[in-house]
Amino acid sequence: MPEAFHILFGASFTALVSLALGKLLLRRLRLRLYRIEEHLLGFVAGSACLSALVFALAATRLVYKGVLLATGALILAVAVRQGVHRGRGESFPPLPRWWRGMFVAAFAVFGIFYFFHAMAPEMSPDGSGYHLSIVARHARERGFHQITTNMYANLSQGVELLYLFAFVFGRHSAAALVHFSFLIVLPLEMLSYARRFGFTKAGVAGALFVFVSPVVGIDGSSAYNDVAAATILFTLFYLLQIWDQARTPGLLVAIGLVAGFGYAAKYTAFLGVPYALGFVAWKLFRARRPLLGPVAVVSLCAAAMIAPWMVKNWILLANPVSPFLNKVFSNPYVHVSFEEDYARHMRNYEGLANHWQIPVEVTVRGGVLCGLLGPLFLLAPVALVALRRAQGRSLLLAGLVFGLPYAANIGTRFLIPALPYLALAMALAFANARGCLAVLVVAHAVISWPSVLKQYCAPHAWRLDRILVRQAFRLESQDSWLSRKWPPYLAARMIEKHVPPGGQVLAFYGISDSYTTRTVRIAYQAASNSVLGEILWTPLIGDYQPRHRREFRFPTEALRKVRVVQTASGGPDQWSISEFRVFHGLNELPRADHWRLRAHPNPWEVQLAFDNSPVTRWKSWQTLFSGMFLEIDFGGTQTVSAVVLECSTDQYKTRMRLEAMDASGAWKALAGEPAASEAEPHLRLRRAATEEIKAQGVGYLLVHESDFGAQDMLTKTEAWGITPLEESYGFRLYRID
């Protein structure tokens, strides 16, 4: 039970401080809002402020429990002293009794269900993985550090910083409960918005359409951030609608902050900024009022929330929008090819035969696209009927804009930001059909309840399946529950047990690494991890091995620089060179310390072509283009008569030319296409691979039985030079000897 107390304290303290900050801000801006709006909009605006405050603490590495406690207590004290806990605004007229009853019943039943899930030990794939592993690392290291081995650490983490505030007190479940607080706020905001604009019944229905939706429930009660992003965007929409009604200047500050907080919460919510700017500009233009001042206020306030994340990434990772746009902001931390593959993968989930399956998949099945909205949303086209009303048009436009990122990731949860608008528009469409809304709400609630849901959804659809009261209050311990139900947790604990502090583990399969303090380097999550992954695979994949020898021979000459240039273009091939050797006669020139090596693109891995290792290679990590090169600057003149390249065989289109700078400093072509021959196969590559990985600081391998090469490692431990330490649920941990 003390654990439950810490969890509840962490989450409620975070929510209260957010609320206090928000109400202080709204009061400072002298906004006239309804009482419930002060709470709801204040909570989200305050979350933006608290997130920015935690950013500052993390940037200065002051994330200590005492500092957070004192900061939060001070904010609460100021809020109480200023009397913000006493609402000033008017209340809405009461809801019709029947509608009120229905809303309270559904909200309470599903809300309690979600609450217990959020409070139970965190076992969502991404929540217990990267979302909270990065939060946990910030907590351990008292703030931000340069993390180059996990590209998820480069995403904006505005909501995760709120999790950090709670995590320090109550760890994983406290963080999930913070997300749960956004889940609670969203339907209340939707209802409040509908009450303000005069369609209360549709508001009740729309709010419940969203709240009981299965994917919203599991996402919002896990340490994800989609529901938080949706709440932030809806808050922005709501504030804009109020501004359109009241034109209070202070609202523009709140609008800017919340729009910027959208970007800070999730890159895909960046559309809140152009939406807000466009909305304000368009309304002022139509009213023939000056644009510049209000647009500037919104822009500056949004920039204040966005800039810290961009500057952080720029400083630490040389890319303000890492892990994206790596072609524009080239950097050593994320490969261009990874970004392209990732984007392709997100647009085409494995198991989806074609995009015509998406409607049924996201509403009824939920197995391939990870979750379902509920069959109710098969009626989504009906929402178009709402176009008849001004509010309907506003809702559908916002839904369209905030739904645009879905094209980039077709997972069901990426529809959540657009869902509130769609749901309200659907409810508006049915508003005049007597009894229809109530029937739809009840039907949606019934068929979204876990015991009914499992009758029709895909067996492995991401969804809540039971009420976890014992687990929430830790009557069954976290360790016991997760050990029984969540193999990635066992993998994390296995690592914690066997790997010493500071040790690093290479893995191909994501685990719940928030439950270990050791660094787990998932192969696809960073450029340096991908290199290690390929090194490990080189002994097993003949095409990765340097079996092609390309020799440029030319009359002996004194040269200052020599470079091999790629002359072919186009995919899917990437260029790679395992070894770049320079000869004088039959003797290879030893690589001197004063040589300088350069490559384009990917200059940061050029040494891999000069390390004499058959398991490493420099690779372009992007498809061929004419002008790629590898270059040696001899630091003076060097007599040279041949260049030999050892290359892997997984590149068919490559064409090369040798260029050199002579003693006079002039560049010239030395030789065209090289003579091709087969290189002698290298032996004992397995050992070479593990030795190389160990030399790069990784002393352990976590291999899942479904990983490529798992069987080979199991049966040839001696050849690999590895010792199995423990096995659990298909995960096997090896130490590199």
Binding site: V253, V297, A304, I315, N612, A688, K716
Partner: protein
């Protein structure tokens, strides 16, 4: 706007951001010196080497150290020269015997007469056997555990006192079929 956001706050924010950007930007070099040179390990994969091998096995070349033909004859055996040497990796060292199945060719025996084979394990003489007739032979003798090391190379050499030398200089010793360690 100035009323909503104090100007001095804006100046301070810009100054802090600028200072951070100038002082803290990650400095990533784009040219590099040659790195530490790796020394690739030569020889076949340890994992391909077992405690017993048939000459027809695809893994046989990995076991051959010297003086055994690369070519498999009749799908099952190989000619040796004077010092056929094999290596093995043993999972254990206890209760092991060295076992060798081989033949002495009628044709070479006519020319060489009886031959003496000295059986060496890790440089220690295990036995010296005289073979007075051609045909199939089987050698088996326990090996002291202290001579062996589990998981490491164990080298076995059959030293022939004489071989048949062909007119073209080729040397032919015995016909090896299989060999290794058995319990």
């Amino acid at each position: 706007m100035a009323r909503l956001i104090p100007v001095r706050f804006l100046f301070a924010a810009v100054a802090v951001a600028g200072w951070l950007a100038v002082c803290s930007c990650v400095n990533i070099p784009t040219t590099y010196a040659p790195p530490i040179q790796r020394k690739p390990i030569l020889g076949p994969e340890v994992g391909d080497i077992g405690h017993f091998i048939a000459m027809s096995d695809a893994r046989a070349p990995a076991h051959i150290v010297r003086d055994i033909s690369e070519a498999v004859e009749g799908g099952s055996w190989r000619w040796t020269r004077q010092y056929p040497t094999l290596r093995f990796v043993l999972p254990t060292t206890k209760n092991l015997s060295l076992v060798m199945d081989f033949s002495i060719s009628n044709e070479t025996f006519v020319l060489t007469g009886p031959i003496v084979i000295s059986w060496w394990v890790n440089g220690r003489l295990l036995d010296k056997v005289r073979y007075d007739s051609p045909g199939e032979k089987h050698f088996q003798k326990p090996v002291d555990a202290s001579w062996l090391k589990a998981g490491a190379d164990t080298v076995v050499t059959a030293e022939l006192d004489k071989v048949w030398v062909a007119p073209d200089g080729a040397k032919l010793g015995i016909i090896l079929t299989r060999g290794g360690f058995q319990q």
